[in-house]
Amino acid sequence: MPNRRSVLLGMGGAAVAAIVGVAGVKGRQTVADAAAPDPSITFTYKGHTIVVTLNSSMAMVNIDGRKQVHIDRSGLQRFHSHLLPFQDYTDPRRMIRDIIDIEAARLVIL
């Protein structure tokens, strides 16, 4: 895993600012804190607790502490999942909400 400095440099200030704006962001977003964990986003959707751990090329999504979904990342704010292969997202939270919805619709099993 890249360290916090490389993550922050890779993401760029605007992306970090966007992520910090999400309720439940863990860890301080400081370049100096090289030992801190990767930036993560925690939120809930339809009763599910979701934790997204980001680095410069991917994100790992943990749903309810047991289901894991890998997301590819390219550029600052472009996310892609093989579960929804015909679209990109600028907001990983929106993508995860859609993935949870397609499981509820029984298009896929997470």
């Binding site: 590819d72 390219s74 292969p85 397609i102």
Partner: protein, 302 residues
């Protein structure tokens, strides 16, 4: 069969030929052949190409998008004709025309009726398609934890025409086709979703969902997932994508070429590389360059 296969606009086919086609689909579904096409599409979508890539896979997001689906279409068409030799070829759904039909409401297309491919999903029944020739089909869905496929119960494909929350409310129109045709180079570096090229415009990654991607997202439901061949309309859609490529190739003499030409370009995406994840490596002409010329494959669009 004698002579080349001929692929027609499905909305121009007589009812008898629609029935022959959907009957053949049902034979392939019943004998298990059809589900193999679903598995192979999903598997190709999860095969990074070149190895280790996070951007491109064996069938999407890169130059092999069009050849891979052309080969898969040819294989399916071959299977359908084996069931019923009177089938002339897989028809196409010319979705860019829908804006000028039925007062611009594509949901009213004859395609979505019981005598063609069945209607929109029923919101009171989980958006399952409850009429038409595929009403009893059980979809094959992907388990992302076990990496296996399983059949969905109850039966019924899922469609949400223009109303899927993860989808889009409009279809691409002729202006998008004209735009794609303005790109005279098949593909270019970095050969991915950011390339300014014909392939990338047709696949639909430029700026926002367009063309191919937009149609998947307008139909919604099963067409949103990597198992999208669950819905047989997948093949009508991809026949139209292939027709657009076929016409674009003929925009110059000799045919406009595939790129990247070996030995340059990413491994697995070059003209001399082998397409992966198809039906049989000893049956399909399975080098990328083999797929470029439809005359060699023995079909034409009408």
């Amino acid at each position: 069969m004698a002579g080349p296969r001929r692929r027609f606009d499905i909305l121009t086919l007589p009812a008898q030929q629609i029935t022959q086609l959907t009957n053949a689909f049902n034979v392939l579904k019943t004998n298990g052949t059809y589900d193999g096409f679903i598995r192979r599409h999903m598997t190709a979508a999860m095969t990074p190409t070149p190895a280790g890539s996070t951007q491109t896979n064996a069938a999407h997001c890169g130059p092999t998008f069009l050849p891979w689906h052309r080969a898969a279409l040819w294989e399916l068409e071959t299977a359908l004709i084996a069931v019923d030799p009177t089938i002339t070829g897989i028809p196409y759904w010319r979705w860019e025309n829908e804006a000028s039909l039925n007062a611009g409401n594509p949901k009213l297309s004859a395609l979505w009726t019981a005598v063609y491919f069945g209607g929109d999903g029923d919101p009171t029944q989980g958006n399952r398609v409850v009429n038409g020739p595929f009403a009893t089909w059980q979809a094959l869905i992907w388990n992302n934890t076990t990496h296996t496929f399983s059949s969905r119960s109850p039966a019924g494909l899922i469609r949400r025409l223009g109303r899927d929350p993860a989808g889009l409310t409009t279809l691409p129109n002729q202006a998008q086709v004209t735009d794609a045709n303005s790109y005279t180079t098949y593909d270019g570096a970095p050969y991915d979703k950011t390339s300014a090229s014909f392939r990338n415009r047709v696949e639909g990654w430029a700026s926002t969902s367009r063309m191919h991607n937009q149609v998947h997202r307008w139909i919604g439901g099963d067409m949103l997932a990597g198992t999208s061949p669950n819905d047989p309309v997948f093949w009508l859609h991809h026949a139209n994508v292939d027709r657009i490529w076929w016409a674009w190739q003929r925009g110059a003499t000799p045919l406009r070429p595939y790129l990247p030409a070996s030995p340059s370009g990413p491994i697995g995406q070059r003209s001399n590389d082998r397409l992966v994840g198809l039906l049989r490596s000893d049956w399909t002409p399975n080098l990328v360059q083999d797929i470029g010329n439809t005359t060699n494959l023995g079909y034409e669009y009408v």
